[in-house]
């Protein structure tokens, strides 16, 4: 099966009102080429699940600035003032989740778990509306899984089957988002033949990847 496509070939996959997960921490480990394609495509009313909304002119920030996003689920929006402005004006809904909770909610969805129990957020506004469960005398919040229609992942080295290695600090949310969506698209910084990626370095097995786009610098 040939998974390698041009980013423009992916346009048919995307529709208004979709939920999209995007890997990265600020703009480190984010699939910029696919985001640029989404900006061109100008689909609207998206729900974006990501750690943050990067910067106005970088990464996920471009989708926010372009008015394509109606809801963001993230842990931090402070680096992109546009997100805050659109939230204040009511144009954008923001659901904030503690970073450690956000990644576990994504992991839960991708791993078939019904949720996670965490002490993070107890006694704060994060606990509002959530179930509390006591285990061995200790209280936890029940945090529910987060899944998406499409996950956009950035791989440092990707082979033709989609097996992916994430270099240095680009790992962040990527390996877990690659398990939590119906369709997974990886943007390859370096695309190699299967024999040129050491099997032991693979972090995301290619069976999880539906499409590969080669990054254009």
């Amino acid at each position: 099966m040939n998974k390698l496509v041009k980013s423009t070939d992916l346009k048919r996959i995307f529709k208004d009102d979709m939920t999209i997960m995007i890997g990265g921490f600020l703009d480190c480990g984010t699939p910029e080429n696919i985001i640029d394609m989404l900006v061109d495509l100008n689909i609207k009313n998206l729900t974006i699940i990501s750690n943050d909304t990067a910067f106005p002119n970088k990464g996920i920030g471009k989708l926010i600035v372009n008015g394509q996003v109606s809801k963001v689920i993230a842990s931090h929006i402070g680096t992109n003032p546009e997100t805050g402005k659109k939230m204040s004006s009511g144009e954008l809904k923001v659901e904030l989740s503690p970073q450690g909770t956000l990644i576990e909610r994504i992991r839960a969805a991708g791993s078939g778990l019904g949720g996670v129990l965490t002490p993070t957020g107890l006694g704060t506004i994060v606990e509002e509306g959530k179930k509390k469960i006591t285990i061995d005398g200790k209280e936890y919040l029940l945090e529910l899984p987060l899944s998406a229609d499409v996950s956009l992942i950035k791989g440092s080295v990707v082979d033709e089957f989609g097996n992916t290695f994430y270099r240095a600090a680009t790992k962040n949310f990527n390996p877990y988002m690659a398990m939590a969506a119906k369709t997974v698209i990886v943007e390859a910084e370096n695309l190699v033949k299967c024999e040129d990626l050491k099997r032991d370095t693979i972090m995301t097995p290619g069976v999880l990847v539906d499409y590969i786009v080669k990054e254009v610098a």
């Binding site: 970073q99 992991r107 994060v126 962040n172 390996p175």
Partner: protein
């Protein structure tokens, strides 16, 4: 009173550095807490962690040698020690929530008499999000708040918090440019004061009640 902000931050960072013990795994929050690293002697073998996915973080990358794949949680280009390691966000927060991090040094907007911490939101004004702060505040073994004693003329060490909390009753120690305060079951214990201040001045600049011990010390910086 210490009015110079740069000097105040330096005093705080130097004093916090003295709280760290040999071989500890430490997370420094964004802003003032990152200055602490400048005052930790190499022979202490402190390992710094950054919640975006690394331990063994070293100094900032020198200009021209930035590796876009190596940033810290504040988005700055950094370097890694030879013994350092990279990992994903789930592993990173397992380290944090799982109690593997010995000390977290965090900034604060408010700390109160029960060690309640508020540092992530001023409703309708600044809503940056909590990032990793809530996980750090409940997960690290020891929480040190490093902050200027007052902010914009307002008390930051208060009787009872008013801002939305980051975590309930998790702060262990407060270090400001004027003093060091231990959070105890009986309340806030003034341990040390800076040589250029007085107990009266500290009381005036602190909304919370302070316990003044007989053996009050001059701040060791």
């Amino acid at each position: 009173m210490i009015l110079d902000k740069t000097l105040a931050k330096e005093i705080i960072a130097k004093r916090v550095a003295k709280e760290l013990k040999k071989g500890q795994l430490v997370n420094l929050g964004i802003g003032l807490p990152t200055l602490v690293a400048n005052y930790v002697p190499k022979e202490m073998n402190i390992t710094f962690e950054s919640e975006n996915g690394m331990v063994g973080m070293a100094q900032m990358a020198s200009s021209g040698e930035n590796d876009p794949d190596i940033i810290n949680a504040g988005g700055e280009y950094v370097t890694l020690l030879p013994q350092g390691a990279f990992f994903d966000s789930s592993t990173s927060f397992a380290l944090i929530r799982g109690g593997h991090v010995d000390v977290a040094v965090l900034g604060a907007l408010e700390v109160d008499e029960e060690g309640n911490l508020a540092n992530w939101i001023v409703p309708n004004k600044i809503v940056p999000g909590m990032g990793g702060a809530m996980d750090l505040a409940i997960g690290a073994q020891k929480i040190i708040v490093a902050m200027q004693h007052t902010g914009k003329g307002k008390h930051k060490i208060v009787k009872k918090y008013a801002l939305p909390l980051t975590a309930k009753a998790q702060v262990d120690l407060i270090v400001t440019e004027l003093c060091v305060i231990d959070v105890t079951n009986d309340g806030l214990l003034l341990k040390e004061i800076h040589k250029d201040t007085t107990i009266d001045e500290i009381k005036f600049l602190t909304d919370a009640d302070l316990i003044i011990p007989d053996n009050l010390k001059i701040m060791d910086i």
